[in-house]
């Protein structure tokens, strides 16, 4: 058997303004079934994707944030967040629907270097 492919999903875009993070999440869910080594990184405006308390009903747009909570059931448990992006935006771990591990930029750089594939969403 070959080694599992190390794939990182890097979410860099804010939700709703563009669809990248939502469609990125759809890709993560599918890949979860393939028993590869998957991680999710929230960086830049991507940290907003997991913000608590979204209510998209007045806009009639589908709220995708609850889906992040089910990732664990798909064996996707490597969630990371960039400390600097989070702090610049006035967010703390209490603000999120999931509990990503907080990494500094050196740790993220190291993690990225270990990946076979980085998907930007």
């Amino acid at each position: 058997m070959s080694e599992p492919t190390k794939m990182m999903f890097m979410m860099r875009k804010a939700p709703y303004g563009t669809i990248y993070s939502f469609e990125g999440l759809e890709a993560v869910l599918v890949m979860g079934a393939y028993e590869q080594d998957i991680s999710l990184l929230f960086v830049d405006d991507g940290v907003y994707a997991i913000k608590k308390g979204m209510d998209t009903s007045p806009l009639g747009i589908k709220d995708f944030s609850p889906t992040f909570r089910v990732l664990d059931g798909y064996d996707i448990d490597k969630l990371y967040i960039d400390k600097e992006s989070m702090e610049a935006r006035g967010l703390t771990l209490d603000d999120f629907v999931v509990e990503p591990e907080v990494l500094d930029k050196e740790q993220i750089a190291k993690l990225m270097e270990e990946q076979d594939v980085v998907f930007p969403f």
Partner: protein, 97 residues
């Protein structure tokens, strides 16, 4: 003139471009991803407080709600789409995307 900004101020220079050309007193509406600029406790808060000395700043309620942002900088005025329309009644708009 009424300035409409829809991009995140963290990833785009649109708000800065808008501010460069907006005349004193001209209102600014933050909507879509631009509402993150209206959030309190961020690295942009002090800048936004400066901006509000020269411009009334509005943020669209529906976009704040969609993004789970409920702590806005004091002084930013929350409006719904009806309020958006009312501002357009009063001023000709200019969009910065």
């Amino acid at each position: 003139m009424l300035h409409l900004v829809n991009k995140s101020p963290y990833s785009s220079s649109s708000l800065d471009s808008c501010l460069k050309f907006a005349t004193k007193g001209a209102p600014i509406i933050l909507f879509e991803d631009a509402i993150y600029g209206a959030m309190a406790g961020t690295s942009l808060e002090s800048k936004m407080i400066e901006v509000m000395k020269d411009h009334p700043v509005y943020a669209i309620k529906e976009d704040l709600m969609a993004r789970g942002v409920n702590n806005i900088i004091p002084g930013v005025r929350e409006i719904d789409y009806t309020g958006f329309v009312e501002l357009v009644e009063q001023h000709r708009p200019c969009t910065w995307s």
